[in-house]
Symmetry: D2
Subunit: 221 residues, 4 copies
C-alpha cells in the first residue's frame, strides 16, 4: 500500500484546529484510494490528532529513556499521547549518528514506527543499517522548492532504493523534496519509492483536497 | 503570591494519565493555601493538562517563528495547545544566549510567561537582562540530590535575588535543586525567593499530597 | 589605545603562509599609528603566528578544563601554543550561556584575554555580566555585507556602549559587521567603541595594506 | 602493517612540549617493530608535531569548506599545518550523520586520511558506507576504564570487523577502549583488528616507553 506522509513542520497552517480539516481530507481520500495517510505534527498536537481517524507521527523524538531530560521529546510521551510513529533526522533537525541508532532502538521497543530522513543515497544506505521501517530520501537543497526531486535528481531516488535494499530488503523507501503534483508522485513510484513525504506542497496550498486526491490517485495507478 | 513549579521532566510518573492525579492534588492545595501552582510537562502532554484546572507550562520552547522547523518545539504550537508559559534554558537543556533572548522575545509577543533557569547568581544576573517573568536559580550539581540549595549554598539564592533585582526589580526569583520539604521552602522564601522549582522531590515520591501540602504551607507562613 | 581585530575565519586567504604577510603589514601599521593589532586565527595556525611580532588570538575556545575532551578546543592548548586571547561566542559559533561564563572564567585563570561577541545591545549587556576584556557588538545580518553597522544601525553601537558600561565600566566595546573603510572606523570611535572587529573587509581584499592603514589612521584621529 | 593511534585528548600530559618526548618514543618503537605510529593531537599542536618524525592527525575536523566559519576546525587549515589525517566522530565529539559524510568527503578531496569512531558494530557498519580509511570501534562505556574492550566485549570487535567488511573490504578496523597492555593488543589483532586507538593508557602513564613497546611487540607477533 502506497504511503503519503504530510509533515506540518511549524507552519501556522499545520497547527491546532487547522489540523482537524486536513486530517479529515486525508482520511477520506486515503480510504477511497487505499493509500496510507500519515500526519506528522508538532508534539503538542499529537493528542489532538490522535483522536481523529488518521495515523499520527511525531516530527521528531530525542534518543532518551525515561528520566531527567527536561524539555527533550520523549518517545514514551509521544507514544502515550497517541503517536504511532515518528520522523527521525529530518533535514531541519539532523541528529548524531549514535542518537539515530538509539532513537530507532527505543522506538522499536515501544512500538513506534520510524522514518529516517537522509539527504543522499549514500546516507540512505548508512541509516538503513539501523533497520527503520522507512528511509525517506530528500536532497535538502530541493526541500520547499519548485522542482521535485523526481525531476531534478531522479537518480538519487533510484540509487537510494537500490542501496537501501542492498542493506535490508524490508526497509521501504519514501522520497520527498519539491513534490507538488500527481506527475511527481507517479515518477516517484516508478523509481521504486513506496510513498512520498510532503510538507508545504500540501499544507500551505489553498486546494489541499484537490492536490492530495491527485497525489493519492497517482500512487495507485 | 508564592509559586510552586513542578517539572515532570521525562519521568514515567509524570506523563499521560499520571498527570491527572498530580494536577488535582496541586489544584486543591493551591486553592487552600493561595499558592500559585504550575505544572511543567512534556509538549505532548500540554493538551491533556490544559483541560484540567491548573497552569500548564512547556518544559522548553525553541527560538523559532512559524515556518520550516520540523521537530523543534514551536512557542506558537504550545500556546495553541493551552500552555500559559514555558521553562527556558533548564540545566538539562541549556541554550545559546542568542536563543534565550529570542525565545523570551517570542514568548512575550504571544503571551507565554517565561522562567529562565540559571546555574549561578552571575548567570542569573545575565539572563535577567532579557526581562523574563522569573529567573530560577538552580546549581546543577545539586539537582536531583539529597541536599537542598537553601542548605548547601544559601548565598547563591541570596546573591541571585540581589543581582537579578539590580538589573530589573520586576523579575521574580525562584530557586530549585534538592528541595524536599517545608523547611527547604521556608528557607528559600527567607532568602528572598518568591517560589520554588521542584521535580523528583514531588513527582517521584509516594506521598505527593503530603509533600506538596507541606511545601505550600511553608510558603505562606 | 585603539584596537583592530582581524578575524581570518576559515578563509583560504587567512590560513598558513598567507598569514605571514598579513601579520607583517599589521605589525608595521600598528607601530606607526600606535594602534593595537590582533590577529584571530584558526587554532592550527596559532603556533605559526605566535612566532611573528603580533598578538594572536584563537577564534574560539571550548569551555573545558584539562581532560577527556577529544577534538574540542582547549584554552590551555591554545595558550601553550602562544595565543594571548580568544574570541568567544562569535556569530558563526554561538555558545550556551553557561559555556560563555565558564570559557571566560577559565581564560582569566590562565591569562587569556577575552572578546565576547554579541548581536544586539541587550545581549551585549548580558554578557558584560561575565566581565570579559571586550564585548564586540555585531548584528549578524550585517556581517560580511556592504553596509557597515555604524551606518545601518549606529544606535546599536551607542546602546551597546551605554548598556555594557552600566554593568561594568572596565569592559571595552568593539564593533563589527560590514566595516570597510576609514569613515566606518571614525564613526565607530565617535559612537564610543574602542576598536573594531573586521574579517573579509581586510582579509579578502587586494589592497590589504591600504585599507588597514586607512583604518588605523581613522582610529587615532 | 599494524597501527597504533595515540589520542592525546585535552590531557595536560599530551600538550605542547610534552608531545615532543612522546613523539620520539613512538617514532623509535615504530621503526623497530615496523608498526605505524599516529599521534592525534589538539589542532593547536599540529604544527609542532608535524615538524617531528611522526604521522600527526587532528582529533577532529568540522564539515566545512573554505569560508565564514569562525572558530570551527577547518580540514584545509589542519592539512596546511601538517596533519596527514583526522579522527572523526570520536565518542567525546559525536557528529551528525550528514556531517560525518561531508567531513570524510572533504578529507578525501584534500588528502587527509580518516578514522571514523563508532560505539557499536551496527554503527561501525553504517559509517563504513562513507568509505573512510579506518573505522575505530570503541564502546563508550569502556573508554578510559580498566577493562579492555577485547576482554569485556570481544564480540563487538569481531562483529565490527565482519560488518564493516560486508560493506567495504578496503576499510580497516581499529579497536579501542580500555586497552592497556600487550595482551589486549594481541587479542585485538586476533579478533581481526588491524590496529588500536589508545589514550590515557599511554599518555597518562609513567612508563610510556615500556607500554608502547609492549603494544608494538604484541602487534607484530
Amino acid at each position: 500500500m502506497g504511503v503519503i506522509v504530510v509533515n506540518t513542520k511549524a507552519y501556522k497552517e499545520g497547527m491546532g484546529e487547522n489540523l482537524v480539516e486536513l486530517s479529515r481530507i486525508m482520511e477520506k481520500i486515503g480510504e477511497k484510494y487505499e493509500v496510507r495517510m500519515i500526519l506528522a505534527v508538532q508534539p503538542s498536537d499529537i493528542r489532538l490528532v490522535s483522536q481523529l481517524n488518521i495515523d499520527v507521527f511525531s516530527q521528531h523524538v530525542d534518543a532518551i529513556e525515561y528520566g531527567s531530560h527536561t524539555g527533550w521529546i520523549s518517545p514514551y510521551a509521544v507514544k502515550l499521547a497517541g503517536a504511532v510513529g515518528t520522523l527521525i533526522n529530518h533535514s531541519e533537525h539532523r541528529m548524531k549518528v549514535e542518537d539515530i541508532a538509539k532513537a530507532v532502538e527505543i522506538s522499536k521497543k515501544i512500538g513506534l514506527e520510524t522514518i529516517i530522513c537522509a539527504g543522499t543515497s549514500e546516507i540512505s544506505k548508512a541509516v538503513a543499517c539501523f533497520s527503520p521501517d522507512y528511509v525517506a530520501v530528500e536532497p535538502p537543497e530541493l526541500i520547499g522548492g519548485d522542482i521535485s526531486v523526481t525531476k531534478a535528481q531522479p537518480e538519487i531516488v533510484k540509487n537510494a532504493v537500490d542501496s537501501v535494499h542492498s542493506i535490508n530488503k524490508n526497509v521501504k523507501v519514501l522520497c520527498g523534496a519539491g513534490i507538488k503534483n500527481g506527475n511527481d508522485v507517479s515518477k516517484a513510484i516508478e523509481l521504486g519509492a513506496e510513498g512520498i513525504l510532503v510538507a508545504s506542497g500540501v499544507v500551505k496550498v489553498k486546494e489541499r483536497k484537490k492536490i492530495i486526491e491527485e497525489m493519492a490517485k497517482a500512487m495507485v495507478k
